[in-house]
């Protein structure tokens, strides 16, 4: 199947969204879900094609003289495409409950931007070359900007400025020159198994600089010091945060890094040139520092945002280590973290809708009012920490295992330390909810259930189940990842 088809459902649904508008909400959201299911089907058929070894390519449009826009499917992209399209459906289901429960304004604009962002994510997932990836990357930035500034207040606009400023700034300031450099050095921007830079005559030092340009240029991956946009973007409505943090934006970032390391540099080139040596500490620092900062945050979404930063750097670490095992783990972690983190964000939003609480210190005893939500939060947290029986343990295992090829156990210890930190900042939240007494209750009174709307609960249930199922049945994913051509 032509990967261009993946762009069709998200784009085709936009007229319907505009047509139905605020007046026919059910039709509007129904049409999005139908489009999402179509997209899922398309991705699924691409998946079966890729598994069967049938080449999946689109035609090309020459954007620049020698470089064109083109889509094609390879295993890594299929993983990402499947993930994003599945979570799009789930997020839409969730936002039906959330946006209505929260009486958000401008919902139509919200859904339109959402759809555009998703189309761009598909473009990024199936990008056949760096140029296409860059284009999709920028479209995602721009189309999610209105989502961040959704509330429209001064705070939201300021956050939007930070968001746009950092993402656009780095992508234009670092990523674009890096791409141009690759174009100049290798003469091609295509993603080729084994990379194109091995014989491009770039020296060791220059290779490190180039890799650094990519790493810092892709600020969506949240590496410090270009991580500020992520917590800033927390002013957005929760489904957006969920989308930003679990699916579209950050995952595009790390996915791009993985893809560039695999198909532009080639994992061997990265290791042989030692290009990543100077960057590994940065990623490791981000892993730890973000965890520590997360401790200090009382706002739930802010804490989750820093947790995301830390987790993304797991994947960056995996990419920089550039071994087959670690990069496989990185790809797997994209999925595992997506499921875990989206669950957490959904729960945070559910708490907001049902109880109007956003500060952790005020969440004492809410587990009795929202047992399902907080139970799901616990499982999501376990997955983020990387403990069985959740999918997070597999990806952590692979990343840590792959990191040993660098000849030091330093990176393993970073990951392990981060695991402990994760426990310390994530688990107190459900504990507080379940174990501390509810200050709003008089002694002897029992709390009544005050769960979020059903649509939210269904979405949460889906992703939570996903966390566990990914532990039990990672086979389809790992098989797909096994098809990646490394050399």
């Amino acid at each position: 199947m032509n990967p261009l088809w993946t762009l069709v459902p998200p784009l085709a649904v936009i007229p319907f969204i505009l047509l139905f508008g605020e007046r026919r909400k059910n039709l509007r959201e129904g049409s999005i879900i139908i489009a999402g299911l179509f997209l899922l089907l398309i991705n699924n058929s691409i998946y079966s094609d890729v598994i069967a070894g049938i080449p999946v390519e689109s035609g090309e449009v020459a954007l620049l003289a020698n470089f064109s826009l083109k889509l094609s499917a390879e295993p890594m992209g299929v993983v990402f495409g499947l993930l994003a399209s599945f979570l799009w459906v789930v997020t839409t289901v969730y936002s039906i409950g959330y946006m209505r429960g929260h009486h958000e304004i401008n919902q139509t604009r919200f859904y339109v931007c959402f759809a555009i962002a998703l189309a761009a994510v598909m473009g990024a997932a199936y990008a056949d070359n760096l140029l296409t990836l860059f284009v999709a990357y920028e479209v995602i930035t721009i189309s999610t900007y209105p989502l961040v500034t959704h509330a429209g207040g001064d705070g939201a606009r300021k956050a939007g400025r930070v968001y746009l400023g950092i993402l656009m700034g780095t992508s234009i300031g670092f990523l674009l020159p890096a791409i141009v450099w690759v174009a100049a050095a290798a003469g091609t921007l295509d993603f080729v198994p084994g990379g194109v830079l091995a014989d491009a005559g770039i020296g060791k030092g220059a290779m490190a600089v180039l890799l650094a340009l990519f790493l810092f240029g892709i600020a969506k991956a949240g590496i410090m010091p270009f991580h500020r946009w992520l917590p800033a973007a927390m002013v957005a409505p929760t489904p957006v945060s969920a989308l930003l943090h679990a699916v579209a934006v950050v995952k595009t970032g790390v996915f791009s890094v993985l893809k560039i390391v695999t198909y532009t540099f080639g994992i061997d080139t990265v290791t042989v040139a030692g290009a990543a040596q100077w960057l590994l500490p940065v990623a490791a620092f981000t892993v730890l520092a973000a965890s520590i900062v997360a401790f200090t945050k009382d706002n739930l979404k802010a804490r989750l945002a820093y947790s995301t930063i830390s987790q993304l750097s797991y994947i960056l670490l995996a990419a920089l280590l550039a071994t087959v095992m670690s990069v496989s783990g990185g790809v797997l972690h994209i999925v595992m973290h997506a499921f875990g983190k989206i669950t957490l964000f959904f729960c945070a939003g559910a708490i907001m809708v049902a109880l109007h609480k956003s500060e952790i210190s005020k969440m004492n005893g809410i587990g009795r009012r929202m047992p399902l939500t907080m139970g799901a939060f616990f499982i999501g947290a376990i997955s983020i920490i990387g403990l069985p029986p959740t999918g997070g343990s597999w990806s952590k295992l692979l990343i840590a295992g792959g990191s040993l090829d660098s000849g030091t156990i330093l990176w393993v210890s970073v990951l392990m330390l981060s695991t402990l930190l994760n426990i310390a900042y994530l688990l107190p939240i459900p504990l507080r909810a379940f174990l501390k007494p509810d200050p709003d209750l008089k002694p002897g009174e029992t709390a009544s259930w005050q769960e979020a709307p059903y649509a939210c609960l269904w979405a949460i249930a889906l992703t939570t189940t996903g966390c566990v199922l990914l532990f039990l049945f990672p086979r389809p994913l790992t098989e797909l990842i096994g098809l990646i051509q490394w050399r």
Binding site: L332, L387, A400, L427, L431, F434, T478
Partner: protein
Amino acid sequence: MMNLMAPPFLYLIAALICPFLPSRWRALLLLGIPVFALMVMLAYPAGEHVVWSVVGFDLTFMRVDKLSTIFGIIFSIAALLSGLYAWHVRDTVQQVATLAYAGAAIGGVFAGDLISLFLWWEGTAVASVFLIWARRTPAATATGMRYLLIQVLSGVLLLAGLLVHYHDTGSIAFEHLGLVSTGTFLIFLSFGIKCAFPLLHNWLADAYPAATITGTVVLSAFTTKMAVYALARGYAGTEVLIYIGAVMALFPIILAVVEDDLQRVLAYSLNSQLGFMVVGVGIGSDMSISGSAAHAFCSVLYQGLLFMSVGAVVYRTGTSRASRLGGLYRTMPVTMLCCLVGAASISAVPLFSGFVSKSLILDASGYNGNYLVWLALLAASVGTVVHTSIKVPFTLFFSHDSGKRPAEAPVHMRLAMIIAAFLCVIIGVFPGLLYSLLPFSVDYHPYTFDHVLVQFQLLLFAALAFVVLKKIGLYPRTVASTMLDVDVIYRKWIPARLPLVARRVADLNASARQSALGLLGNGYGVIERLTRPGAPLARGWSVASMMFVVIVLMCAVLVLNLL
């Protein structure tokens, strides 16, 4: 489908469906599953079963041999007894946690490779912490958090170690490892934490008293014994274990003697008993390994029995503080008798279970020729008498009368205790039953005249010493207090200094940010002064100044070109 019938998975499935059952069925499930799983377990032939290929590894979930089977059996018995003991509990959280925890522990001993071992390893951590949190007090929450962090630390060390090991050898098989490389060292450390090696031990004394009454009983059975199993599997014959075990058997004694909380006393004594097993593993002979396995088997029973009896007292009085209890024999005689059986077992009185298992280790260490260790173990046996066999029953049931007249423990608790006590005696009287289960066949006869004689000498003289010390007033009275342990480092000292460090870092960060912002602000000011509307660069220049620029530039061009 057959795979789901493996014992650990049976427990997990039970844990999964447990929340959806009516309350009585949940409690019955806790009784039924251990029996059923035990039958399934015994039906497995020796060998490797239930292989699962995942993320590029082949995981073996049922590696059945004699070493794993004996642990599997005792874990099943422990699960059954604690299920019976906890019959009154209708708290879903505890019930699910108990099932999952027992399942994970049983999974751990049947794990045939390091990765599945790791999964169960973390599983026991996650499941067991709920038994502490289920107490639902702020202090229990905090304690549970500490416990979980340490347990997961052990898990991540195992993960790191197994990865390093895999990287070195390309194998994840869980066979004999030995202390040969970084990887195996990390794994060793991980086992050491769960096994409560000296200086890594505090979680045990910290967490066990903080669990619920029934939770403590459950906790006492699994985690540490699983670690002993893992050591026996991976590090049998590692010499350093002998010394670690010796120290481990000795030092908790001193702490336990003056401890006021009887559950903590039992936790220390459990720690000391682990020391015996570790020595046995360290010696590594067939006899000593068998001794360790046997001792673990017996220890689960008598330690569980002791925890049960103290738990019964807590259930009726609300405290386990020695300073507040005493003279309870009047109204809780069954509990008292069971406690005495437990005490007799732990101090290895002949005809009780401890005697037949501890002797194996002691003799093995004697034959090994490491006399100092042998002596240490002997001393530790005496120590057991000091802090457990005498102190616990004496302060609880006799001693001075606290005036408390609690009712006898509920019948299901009594039943659980009586069964445990019965098993202790049965093993003590018919050691052949236990020996037939051991990983290596041992030809050992505990009941020789010599052996019985020296044991009585040892024990009765210890009792005599107690009497004498009591008479002359040297025996310490129990008072409500806290004894410092090494955990003071991370519970008091570091937290006390942390805010200062954090403030320093925060200040540094703030000042760095301030100066960076200041610099930016200055730069911005300069730019704005040059470029805002009406500023020199942005003004509509007058004709004169435009011409001036033209002329200057023209001159520059001409000069440059003509030179």
